[in-house]
Homo-oligomer: 450 residues x 2
Amino acid sequence: MTTRRNFIRNTSIAGLGLVAVPGFANTSFSAADKLNIGLIGVGLRGTNHLQNLLLRKDVNVTAICDLDDNRIAIAKKHIAEAKGKVPKVFGANDLDYKNLLALQEVDAVIIATPWLWHTRMTVDAMEAGKYAGVEVSASNTLEECWDLVNTHERTGTHMMILENVNYRRDVLAVLNMVKQNVFGEMVHYRCGYQHDLRHVKFNDGKTAYGKGVEFGEKGISESKWRTNHSVKRNADVYPTHGLGPIAVMADVNRGNRFVSMTSHASKGIGLHNYIVKEGGKDHTNANVKFKQGDVITSTIDTANGETIIITHDCNLPRPYSLGFRAQGANGLWEVDGSRIYVEGESEPHKWDEAQPWLDKYDHPLWKKYGEYALNAGHGGMDFFVLNSFVESAKQNIAPPLDAYDAAAWSAVTPLSEVSIANNGEPQDFPDFTRGLWMKRTPYQWMKEMY
Amino acid sequence: MTTRRNFIRNTSIAGLGLVAVPGFANTSFSAADKLNIGLIGVGLRGTNHLQNLLLRKDVNVTAICDLDDNRIAIAKKHIAEAKGKVPKVFGANDLDYKNLLALQEVDAVIIATPWLWHTRMTVDAMEAGKYAGVEVSASNTLEECWDLVNTHERTGTHMMILENVNYRRDVLAVLNMVKQNVFGEMVHYRCGYQHDLRHVKFNDGKTAYGKGVEFGEKGISESKWRTNHSVKRNADVYPTHGLGPIAVMADVNRGNRFVSMTSHASKGIGLHNYIVKEGGKDHTNANVKFKQGDVITSTIDTANGETIIITHDCNLPRPYSLGFRAQGANGLWEVDGSRIYVEGESEPHKWDEAQPWLDKYDHPLWKKYGEYALNAGHGGMDFFVLNSFVESAKQNIAPPLDAYDAAAWSAVTPLSEVSIANNGEPQDFPDFTRGLWMKRTPYQWMKEMY
């Protein structure tokens, strides 16, 4: 097992310019320096991370955990094919992950489990001294948001929220434009998760996607656990794919913060309609009352005077869009229509096609590793978020997307729920930094290492 | 002067199919049957209406009113060129319009004056028994909204809010799609006024648009009165171009109503920046504090469970967009990106280009009169809104966009102001129909007469 000291030593080497590329390619890390990773949850998402990890020369996957023997078998097969050492296996019961966390041969964990487990497992990981990466969204309640922050502060262990969209090529190019002041002082943002998930929330209990109207006990994969959140909660239950990128552009928790928010839910008819259409009106699930509105609109006020609209739109037929807008005093980007306007550069009152701007401001990371990342199976944005996690964990330094970010972004779920239940009443965001947002400086996003 | 009785008689003729086309073209109306119209306000907008009226064979412009002699001269010249009778002229002082309203030879008036006069003049017109058309937005305060409704109900005189965007070709095609249930049960709408008005809010006191940073006493045209609303009010002061079309799609006041709303304002920096950039930091107006946020976001809950997002975005550099979305259980239209998705028709998860859909569902009115309307000088959507006003006034029947609509749409301004001032606190809409929305049936929009 590599010690923290080793990582710090290696960091200082990197700082001297002796390490030119990170560990996924040629590297100065010896086998002894490898980061030992445990995977908690090797469902579809966890397996995706596993496959990307197995391509790296600077990590060992030393342990895996899942309740589903089939998923364990698949993961072991992947590891064997990559000529990795046979991992220790956990999953005998719901809490067996704690035995994984007790292993000496685990430095860091990646948590890709159902939402209700995210905070519990991340907290336990930090308590065990394991550098923790957690899939989105991180928390279900405000108390859980605080659990992440308080545990991080008390233990000194780091956690990262693994928001891959923060590493999308257009998102990082626009972040570059924001940082270079192309849009001027920022004023307004939009984002959201607009993704027809009906084929994900329901299946036939055999295939994960595309068929059937079962969920919960009779479903498999995401339908087994995710759909219940649509039954029970009228809230934006999945805010981070949109809000994560915007929070970084707006320096949230680093000179800015979310102050308050109102939320509105439309009627919820999409999931019921889908059940009736695909399963017939006599199917048992046609009687299920879904609390979740089909389109949920939240508007945040920030300390620096920007507004942010977040949309959750996952129950109706529609093409995918994260609905991004980043708007400043000199211009704006809109992902819908793929367009950018910059005063003094664009023809007055006419949109530019976004792509030439995105190419011009391509992020250093994508310039350097884009070709590798985009090769089949290397994950695209997933490569970058994982790379950031591994590099941060190797150095045992604070990751770009930390406990405060995980807490602030995830707080949208419980706050939207209360606002909706109270006719759109504004809800204050807790200041998870306890005032430190005023002195925390923006993360240095424009480097090319990770 | 044509009496109401004449109009009603003519209507019944029309009902028998004896009048094939409305009065703007060949018509059975004799000169004696013409609608006598007075124009209150012949600035740029009023003159536009005047020019379109002068093309019609079924109206006389019998009186005009404006405080500005230059505008009166221009209007008289247009009337003379169209071989119209010399109109009576008013404008000796702020209240001289009341003398116009006292004329026997005025059946109807069109009010195109600064916003602060809209409700006062419309109320006075109804009191005088004149069928009143008022430019957008109709009211500045909630009390004014009630004034429109109460005066209409007490006098029995009709008023129409002249929202031209309700007659935009794409808007009417989408309305047609909504009415034909192409999108299924409706769930969510978006709209707004996103228009860089900096060149309108400021000028050099000589030319209306494009130069200078003066406003108020030193400005001319819109900058003379409109800009002050950005100085004094942090509110969505111009909601109807977006909300009017959506309100009709949602049957607001006719089986549905606006229930409550929250509003958020971003910081306001656009107008100050513009003054500094164009006029220098030492220009007197660089000291003006503008209360209005640059991007104002309001979200309405309706009685039928839809949500509607309205945007006001007029102080920053950006290309024009009204930002429409109409989303239902089976699909949606988004004006940004010009795209439509209809489940079962579109390729799954892929947008269709909107235009073929809009062509297919082209509104009967546009099919019939589109070519005429689009000919140079005939106004496009302005032709249709004016045609609707004239035809409704000739028959002295309730117009498609009535006092209840004017009140409900305009209420967004004062309600957004209070919500913003109270951290996004939800504001209830008054029920301007006093409960009648439950039994009022949707207006029959799909006819081809007006």
